[in-house]
Amino acid sequence: MIFDYETLKLIWWFLIGALFLMFALTGGFDLGVVALLPFVGRKDAERRILLNSVGATWEGNQVWLVTAVAAIFAAWPWAYASAFSILYFIISILVLALVLKPPGIDYRSKLAHKGWRRLWDGILSISGVVPALIFGLILGNVLQGLPFHYNEELRVVHNNSFVAYFNPPALLGAAMVLNIFLLQGSAWIAFKTREDLQARARWWLIGLALLCLVLEFSIWLFDLPQKTIGYRITSLIAGNESLNPLNKTVVQEAGAWQTNYQNYPYLRVLPYLAWIALWGVMISAWLRRFGLAIGALLLVVISLSLSYMAALFPFILPSSINPHHSLTLWDACSSHFTLMALLWAGIFFLPLVLAYTAWVYRVMRGPLLNDASSHKLPY
C-alpha cells in the first residue's frame, strides 16, 4: 500500500468533501434552474428553453451526489449508517423530492395540455427547492451535533424527535443553501439564454446576491461562530490504527468550531473570500458579464464549503447526547485495505469522468436563442 492509514483517512476526508462539492458546483445549477422554472420562465416556450439549458447535463451532474453517498457508505460506513438513520425523516423527504425531478424534466413537455404542464412546473420547482432546503438543514444540524450514541453491540441508537431538526441555526443553513442554489440557477439562465429570460434572470441574480450578502453578514453580526456550541477532541488519537469511535473523549463548548481557525489563521481567508466573491457575482451581473458571475459563484461555493469543513475538522458527525461517541475522520472509516482500494478506483476513474463531463459541456456550449431549435423537445 502506497499510503499509510493516517494519510488515507485524510485523503478520504478531502475526497468525500470534494465529491459533495462537485455536486454543488454542477448539480447546484440544475436544482436552481428547476426551482426557478415557473418564476423566471413565464411563457411555455421559455420554460422549455430553461429545461433544455440543463437538459443534456443534469443527469450526469446528479451522479456526483449518488457517488458521494456511495463513497460515504464505502469509506465511512459508521457515518453512512448513523447519519441516514438519525435523519430518517428529513432524508425521506429529500428522497421523495429527488425522485420527482427525473420524470418531471422528462414528462413535462410530453403532453401539450396546459394543466399538465403547469402541474409539472410546480412539481419541478418543488424538486429543486426542497433538496436545497434539506441539504441546508442537514449541514446546520450536523454543526450542532446529532442526538445519537452507540450501544454495546455498536448499534446506533437515536432520538426520533424530528421537530428538533427545525431549529434556528439549521433554518439559517437551509436559507443559505437555497439562496446559493437559486443564485447558481439564475446565473446559469442569464449565461445560457438571451433577451427576456436573460434580463429577468439578471435581476434575480442581483437580488439573490444581495440577500446572500445579508445572510453572510448576519452570521458575522450575531457572532454565531463564537456562540455556537462546538466540539473538541481531548484525548490522543493514534491516526494510524484501526480505531473504535467509542474510545475517545470529546468536550462540547461554545466556540470550539473556531479552534482550527485559531490554530491556522490563514484559514480565515476562506470566509472573506466568499464575501468578496459574492460582491464579484453582483458586480459582474450588473455589468452583464455572466460568465464571470458564474466563475465568481463557483468561488463562493468552494470557499463556503471549505470554511464549513475547516470548522468541523476532524469531526464528521458530532453527537450531542454523548460527545465521546462523535464520529471523526479518524475512527468512522473503513479498513486500511478498503480505503486504499477505493482510492485506486478514484485515481483511475475520476479523471476520466471529469474528462468526458467536460467534453459533454463543450459539445453543448453556446447560448439558447429564443427560436425553434431551442424550443424543441429532444426526447
Partner: protein, 524 residues
C-alpha cells in the same frame, strides 16, 4: 430482542422500492443495446429509417429511463436509512461495489445519455454512435457492480470479521469481484434485461403490423427484436440452468426450497414439476415429479445427492449451537478479556457466529438460549417455501413461452412472411408483460430464498435494521408507495400514448398519422 413489525415494514419498504426499480432497469438494459444496434445499422448502411428507429425507440427509452434513475436514488439511501446495522456491519465490503458502480458505470451512462438526445445535430454520425454504445455499456456495467454487491449478500467471500469494531472487513477484492455467484447472476440478469427490451420492441412492432401501418419501420424493428431476443432468451435459460448448478454448490437451502424437496432423496433426485408445498407438515402435497431431473441439474452427476430441507435444518441446528459458543467468546473478548487461547477459540468458531446471532430473535441472552429457542432459530433457517416454489415456476413458465415466441418470430422473420402470422403478432403483443413478471418472480426467488439472512450465514435480516420507530417507517412506506404508484401510472400512460402514436411522434412528416389524413390522429 427485535421489533418484528419494524423488521417487516423495513423489509416491505425495501422490497417495494427494489421491485419498482426493477420494473424500469431491465428495459433500460435491453433497449439501450437495441438502440445501439439500430444506430450501427444506420451508420453502416446510411439508411435513414434506422436513424428514425433509434430515435423513436429512444423516445420510449427516455420515458422509462427517467423512472429508472429516480427509483435508483431511493435504494442507495435506503441501506443507511432502514438498514443501519447492516450498513455498519458490512459497509467495509458492501460499499465498495456500490461506490465503483457510481464512479465507473453510472457516471458514464448518465453523463452521456444527454448527448444521445441532444447530440444528433451537434455530433458526427460516428461520435453519436459511440455515445449510444457507451450508454449501453455504462448501463450494463452498472448492473455488473450492483450484482456483485448482491452476490456478496448471497455468498459472502473475501471478508473477515473484526470483533473490536463488530464488522466484516474486506480481505480480497479478487474474491469479491470474481464471486462465482456474481458471474452467473450477471449474465442471467443482463440477458433477462435484453429479453425485456426485445419483447418490448417485438410486441409494439407487432401492434403496428397488425394495424397495417408504418410497415417498413415495424418490419425492421421486428427483425432486430426477434434476432436479439432469441439470442438473449437462450442465454437466460442456459444461465438459469447454470444458476441451478451454482445453488447446489453454495445455496443449498434455496435450491431445496425452490424444489420443495423436504427429504434427501437417493441420487439423482427427482424434480418436482408442480405440487402444493406444505410448510407445517414439511412435505409437498400432490407433487408431480420428473425422475432424476433435479439431481442432474443441481449436481451434474448421477451419484451426488441433493440435500433436503429437513436434513439442512438439522445441520443448521448444529451450526447454531456452535454459533452460540462463538458468541460467548465474542462477549468475553468485547468485555476486554485478552488472552491468546480465547482469541484462538473465537477464531476457530467465528464462522458460525452468524448462526448464533439467529437466536437473538428470541433472546438477548444468546449464551443462555433454551432448547426451544434453539429449535425455533433452526426452523427459521428454512425460508417460506410457497412463494419461492411458485415464483420459480412462474419465472420458468414465462421464460418457456417467450422462448417459443422468439423462435417463431425468428423463423417467420427469416421466411419473410411475419405479417401473415397474425396469431404470432397477437401473441407477441399480449405477451409483453411476461418478461416483467418473470424478472420480478426471479428476484423473489433470489431474495426470499436468501432469508433468514441479510448476508448469508453472517448477519440475520432482523438484526440489520435501524433503530427507527414503526411510525416513521410506516409513514415513509406509505409516502413512497403512493408516489411510486402515481408515477408508474403516469409512466405507463405516456408509454401507451407514444407507442400507439408510433414513429409519427418524431414529427418527421413521413409516418402514418402524418401522411394518412383519414386516420384520426391521437392527440398529445
Amino acid at each position: 430482542m427485535v421489533d418484528g413489525t419494524l423488521v417487516n415494514l423495513s423489509r416491505l419498504q425495501f422490497a417495494l422500492t427494489a421491485m419498482y426499480h426493477f420494473l424500469f432497469v431491465p428495459l433500460t438494459l435491453g433497449l439501450s443495446f437495441m438502440m445501439a444496434i439500430m444506430e450501427s445499422v444506420y451508420v453502416l448502411t446510411g439508411k435513414k429509417i434506422y436513424q428514425h428507429m433509434t430515435k423513436f425507440w429512444g423516445k420510449l427509452f427516455a420515458i422509462n429511463f427517467a423512472m429508472g434513475v429516480a427509483t435508483g436514488i431511493t435504494l442507495e439511501f435506503q441501506f443507511g436509512m432502514n438498514w443501519a446495522y447492516y450498513s455498519h456491519y458490512v459497509g467495509d465490503v458492501f460499499g465498495l461495489p456500490l461506490a465503483l458502480e457510481g464512479l465507473i458505470a453510472f457516471f458514464l451512462e448518465s453523463t452521456l445519455i444527454g448527448l444521445v438526445f441532444f447530440g444528433w445535430e451537434r455530433l458526427t454520425k460516428v461520435q453519436h454512435l459511440t455515445v449510444t454504445w457507451l450508454v449501453a455499456l455504462g448501463s450494463n456495467l452498472s448492473g455488473l457492480w450492483v450484482l456483485i454487491a448482491n452476490a456478496w449478500m448471497q455468498h459472502p467471500v473475501g471478508a473477515e470479521f473484526n470483533y473490536e469494531l463488530m464488522r466484516m472487513e474486506l480481505t480480497s477484492i479478487k474474491e469479491v469481484f470474481f464471486n462465482p455467484v456474481a458471474q452467473v447472476k450477471f449474465v442471467h440478469t443482463m440477458a433477462s434485461g435484453y429479453v425485456t427490451g426485445a419483447m418490448f420492441v417485438l410486441g409494439i412492432s407487432s401492434y403496428y403490423l397488425l394495424k397495417g401501418r408504418d410497415l417498413a419501420f415495424a418490419r425492421r424493428s421486428f427483425a432486430v427484436a426477434s434476432g436479439f431476443g432469441l439470442a438473449a432468451i437462450l442465454s437466460v435459460l442456459v444461465l438459469g440452468d447454470e444458476s441451478g448448478y451454482n445453488l447446489g454448490e453454495v445455496q443449498k437451502v434455496k435450491l431445496a426450497a425452490i424444489e420443495g424437496e423436504w427429504q434427501t432423496e437417493a441420487a439423482p433426485a427427482a424434480f418436482t414439476l408442480f405440487g402444493i408445498p406444505n410448510q407445517a407438515m414439511e412435505r409437498t402435497d400432490y407433487a408431480l415429479r420428473i425422475p432424476y431431473a433435479l439431481g442432474l441439474i443441481a449436481t451434474r452427476s448421477f451419484d451426488k445427492p441433493v440435500i433436503g430441507l429437513k436434513e439442512l435444518k438439522m445441520q443448521n441446528e448444529a451450526r447454531i449451537r456452535k454459533g452460540i459458543t462463538a458468541y460467548g467468546y465474542l462477549q468475553r473478548l468485547r468485555a476486554g478479556e485478552n488472552n491468546q487461547a480465547l482469541k484462538y477459540a473465537f477464531n476457530n468458531s467465528k464462522a458460525f457466529l452468524g448462526y448464533g446471532l439467529l437466536v437473538k430473535r428470541y433472546t438477548d441472552q444468546v449464551v443462555d438460549a433454551s432448547e426451544d429457542q434453539i429449535k425455533a432459530a433452526a426452523t427459521d433457517t428454512i425460508p417460506h417455501i410457497a412463494p419461492l416454489f411458485w415464483s420459480f415456476r412462474v419465472m420458468v413458465g414465462c421464460g418457456i413461452i417467450m422462448l417459443f415466441i422468439f423462435v417463431m418470430a425468428f423463423y417467420y422473420n427469416a421466411k419473410r412472411n411475419v405479417e401473415e402470422q397474425r396469431w404470432l403478432l397477437k401473441l407477441a403483443l399480449y405477451s409483453m408483460p411476461l418478461p416483467w413478471i418473470a424478472i420480478e418472480a426471479g428476484w423473489i426467488v433470489a431474495e426470499c430464498g436468501r432469508q433468514p439472512w441479510a448476508i448469508a450465514e453472517i448477519l440475520p435480516t432482523f438484526l440489520g435494521t435501524s433503530t427507527n420507530t414503526v411510525a416513521q417507517v410506516f409513514t415513509s412506506l406509505i409516502g413512497l408507495a403512493l408516489l411510486y404508484t402515481a408515477l408508474l401510472v403516469v409512466e405507463l400512460w405516456l408509454m401507451f400514448k407514444y407507442a400507439r402514436r408510433g414513429p409519427s411522434s418524431l414529427n418527421l412528416g413521413l409516418y402514418h398519422f402524418e401522411t394518412h389524413s383519414s386516420g384520426s390522429l391521437p392527440k398529445l
